[in-house]
Amino acid sequence: MLALLKREIRIAWRAGGGALTGVLFFLAVVTVFPFAVGPDTKLLSHLAPAILWIGALLASLLGLDRMFAQEREDGSLDMLVMQGHPLMLVFFMKAFAHWLMSGLPLVLATPLFGIMLNLSPLGIGATMITLLAGTPAISFIGAAGASVAVKLPRGGMLISVLVLPLVIPVLVFGIAAITGALTDPAPFTTPFLFLCAITLFTSVLGPLAASVMLRHSAD
């Protein structure tokens, strides 16, 4: 199973894999926002957590359409499905690899982009930790979405439409936790724990849904 993780990471690093594309896309979204908002640093720092979260959300969606469609195109999916490994575990690994190469770089890039958006050090810390806890859920839900659209030649758009509504709870609790960290009466721990719970829950449900979908949609 570790061989699968290693292979996924290798593919993502090589040309066309798109590990860096996500970070660049994130950078592009974050850079465009100050132009839209105008030269109001106070408003910008107020909006910064939301901008970072939405940027991370959109960047995480980028590679999803390739997660299973490419495996199917080159014939690897048949062999992945045929072996004795629990299929759910195979797809958990694929989703986890997707997070490692798309979500984790965004978390690491957050301090830099936080400074660009005039976010306080505490705000940067809170955004980083909520992104770290929340972005895996996007990859796991995305795995389920990607399995539905595996046969479509241009499935990317459909996957985004399927996945975005499902990640709204992640966004809600992520932002609530950051607000809790930055303003006094609101709690940080409660929404943060909810966020962690969502990630753990989807880490089981997402790969499970994908395995059921791909086992029975064979052609």
């Binding site: 061989a3 699968l4 290693k6 292979r7 290798r10 593919i11 090589r14 040309a15 066309g16 894999g17 195109e73 080159d74 014939g75 690897s76 048949d78 062999m79 992945l80 499905v81 045929m82 072996q83 004795g84 490994h85 029975h216 064979a218 052609d219």
Partner: protein
């Protein structure tokens, strides 16, 4: 070891493509599946490989004492379809190494398997560098890195030149003579002693 397929029927897009497929293959026997284009050869092979849900019928693998293997038959199969199942951006070694680790039951090392298909010199090249025939041979090398008692091959020699076809038939022959079970959709004579034929769509 014996592979039994009884009254297999397969549906695709709500329509029955093949029906009443029955055959038995003992260890050391080969089955050549023939039929016109579109008659359902590939569908049949995918059905045996467990890649299509069966509409009816049963596939089972029985050992010499008559005991049925509990795991699904697909776990004992190598499947080589029209597509090679290799990642273009990885090198030949990385591709085969991954499949060996993922499939388990190591047989030949990656180097030895590539030597068998006469491609030792390409081991560190990215897979997309290779010609179509060489790509097919790498896919054939995949059959050699993990031990599976059943090979299911769909047009295994497509894209191969005459020399590579000879190479492939000798590999297939060695596999069958070593008590393997081979099912292939092919127009070429495999040169095997015990070959059964299954005509589809007649």
């Amino acid at each position: 070891m014996k592979l039994c397929v009884e009254n297999m029927a397969l549906m695709r897009a709500g329509e029955e493509v093949v029906r009443d497929i029955s055959f038995e293959l003992n260890a050391g026997e080969a089955l050549v599946v023939t039929g016109e284009n579109g008659s359902g050869k590939s569908t049949t092979l995918r059905g045996v490989a467990g890649l299509l849900p069966l509409a009816s019928g049963e596939i089972s693998l029985v050992d010499d004492t008559g005991k049925v293997f509990e795991n699904p038959v697909r776990e004992y199969c190598h499947y080589l379809g029209h597509k090679n199942g290799m990642k273009p951006s990885l090198s030949v070694r990385e591709n085969l190494d991954f499949w060996q680790k993922f499939m388990g039951e190591n047989l030949l090392s990656v180097e030895e398997a590539l030597e068998e298909v006469d491609l030792s010199h390409t081991i560190d090249l990215p897979y997309y560098y290779l010609s179509a025939g060489q790509k097919r041979r790498v896919a054939i090398a995949r059959l050699l890195v993990s031990d599976r008692p059943i090979w299911i091959l769909d047009e295994p020699t497509s894209g191969l030149d005459a020399q590579s076809v000879t190479l492939f038939t000798s590999l297939a022959k060695a596999f069958v003579e070593d008590d393997g079970i081979l099912i292939a959709a092919t127009h070429l004579p495999l040169g095997l002693d015990k070959t059964k034929t299954l005509e589809i769509g007649s």
